[in-house]
């Protein structure tokens, strides 16, 4: 669907009674900054509402519903203004209404990402649109936020409910599931015979509760260990370690550290550094660098160290 098809059609300006208005049911947040509200209230008290509210009349209930201007309306109620200026528009479709609310409230806090994700899910269903870029353009959400929302939507309802729990102490943060996503969806991990995504998620939740995971960013360390092991062809070992890690809530990500895998990873990094240095040393213009004593001394020390380490390794070294 094109953006212009989602735009709201104007009907006209008028004044209507403040009490006949109602908040938009798709408005994502009823919480507003108190200081901002105080400033707005004082302004309206002095000069009135200069920018009309955007409203539509609900065809089923007959209520005038606010599309834009909820804060102005709340201030008008507090100031007991009998009427407010409104710009009435045609009743939006469900999709138009949700898109408008997204556009108005695009600066949503991350800790409340799950409700945003669920609204996005509804929009995706209604529009049959899944592309991050298009959804980002329609909603005004950053494409990265759309991606994060879609990660949350990949979890089963049981886990989504955990992010909606009314009791803050029981509510899981969206970040937990977003960080876990990289491990849970790792191609190698998903190929392990024992791996079941929801069981693994339950295990990680238990681990997070008892302290086997100190922070949600620990999942990055878990992923790194898995990556290193796979690159070092230690798939069997890391599969077993990860299974143990999941089974015992108190085991920390250190359990996944496979020494040889770590060494292999470090060796690859060092080899790249050596390659660079090799090229740089080979390309040195001897005449130009003739007097750079410090450099030659350091290269001499490095050459001596390399010979020594190669000998320690049992390699034949020519003098």
């Amino acid at each position: 669907m094109k953006s212009r098809e989602l735009s709201i059609k104007p009907i006209g300006l008028k004044n209507i009674r403040t009490e006949t208005l109602r908040a938009n049911p798709h408005n994502p947040r009823g919480l507003f900054d108190r200081e901002d509200m105080r400033v707005l209230r004082e302004s309206i008290d002095r000069v009135g509402i200069l920018v009309p509210l955007t409203v539509y009349q609900d065809s089923k209930t007959g209520h005038f519903t606010i599309l834009d201007g909820q804060r102005r309306w709340m201030c008008a109620k507090e100031l007991k203004l009998k009427t407010v200026p409104v710009n009435q528009v045609a009743e939006p479709t469900l999709v138009q209404n949700i898109v408008t609310m997204f556009q108005i409230h695009k600066l949503r806090k991350d800790w409340e990402l799950m409700p945003t994700a669920l609204k996005l899910e509804l929009l995706m269903k209604q529009l049959k649109e899944k592309r991050d870029r298009v959804l980002g353009e329609l909603t005004g959400l950053d494409e990265a936020v759309v991606t994060r929302c879609k990660k949350l939507l990949s979890y089963s309802r049981k886990y989504q409910d955990m992010m909606l729990d009314p009791e803050p102490d029981n509510r899981m943060k969206a970040d937990f599931f977003i960080e876990l996503y990289a491990v849970r969806n790792d191609r190698a991990v998903r190929s392990f015979a024992w791996f079941k995504p929801d069981r693994f998620t339950d295990a990680m939740l238990r681990k997070f509760k008892v302290g086997g995971l100190k922070a949600v960013t620990d999942f990055r360390i878990v992923k790194q260990h898995v990556n290193n092991a796979i690159k070092a062809h230690k798939t069997g070992v890391i599969s077993k370690r990860l299974q143990e890690f999941a089974a015992d809530p108190e085991l920390t990500p250190d359990h996944l550290s496979i020494e040889s895998a770590m060494a292999a990873s470090q060796a690859r990094k060092l080899a790249k550094t050596v390659d660079k240095l090799y090229v740089q040393v080979k390309d040195i213009d001897l005449d130009e660098f003739y007097g750079q004593e410090d450099l030659w001394e350091k290269l001499q020390a490095l050459a001596d160290l390399i010979r020594k380490r190669l000998r320690q390794l049992g390699r034949r070294v020519e003098e």
């Binding site: 049911p25 798709h26 408005n27 994502p28 947040r29 009823g30 919480l31 609900d58 089923k60 209930t61 469900l94 409340e112 799950m114 409700p115 669920l118 609204k119 899910e121 509804l122 269903k125 209604q126 309802r157 049981k158 989504q160 409910d161 955990m162 992010m163 909606l164 729990d165 009314p166 009791e167 803050p168 029981n170």
Partner: protein
Amino acid sequence: MDKKRLREWLDQFQSYRHGVGETAVRSWLDQFDTGDRDLAARVLDAVEFYGNDRITAAFRDMLNAIPGWSAKPAQRKGKWRFVPYSRSSGTSAGSMIYNFRLANNLDARKWDELFIHPSEIAIQALGPDDTIVFVDDLVATGNQVCDAWTETFAELVGNAGRVYLMVVAAVRKARAKIKGETEILIVSQDNLGPRDDLFSADCGSFSSAEKATLLRYGEKADPERPRGYGGCGLVVVFQHRCPNNSVPILHARNGRWDGLFQRHG
């Protein structure tokens, strides 16, 4: 200890999820000084225990009292969706929904479409003729209900015509708060008032001196919340859990105190 009284407690509390036996009751009473044990026993007498039968009856009565509901789809106005409100302690909302379905003969699979997860509310795209019924056991302070409404549920519910929160018991003050701050309609079987707050001046079951003594034990059981969460001072216990709004001498479990109605584990 009066054996008849002990038998009455055991008959009443034995169905609690973690089981309450004679040894547990005696151990609990032993935590009080000898001179305070009769007072402690009177707290047990005052406990408002909701067994499954009582909860089931409450859910049956409450659903039948909601206008527009009928088990027959043709006589039902709009779409109806029933949602567990919270996953809190001991999966109480899950237990509640299970009880609710049994109570109203809605436990067969053919009724499954009426029961959804909180995370499925938005995708239902409900309209003005439709009804959402959240199900839980207790509303005590109303703070969490109001906060969760503003931060989450108002948006998810969208254009649904009516939103109910059906609970077995609700504190009147909490009802008023929810009514004033949200669009949720509270339906409760029992309404709890100041007399149900053990420490309130309106509670005539204990003298001022006795209340002070119980508060001292409350401070031992939970120094941060000696009157229970939200300062509610309730003595309510559900079969599936003891709410944290009840006095901590009933449920706190730590190195200092061993409550009779364990909340976790």
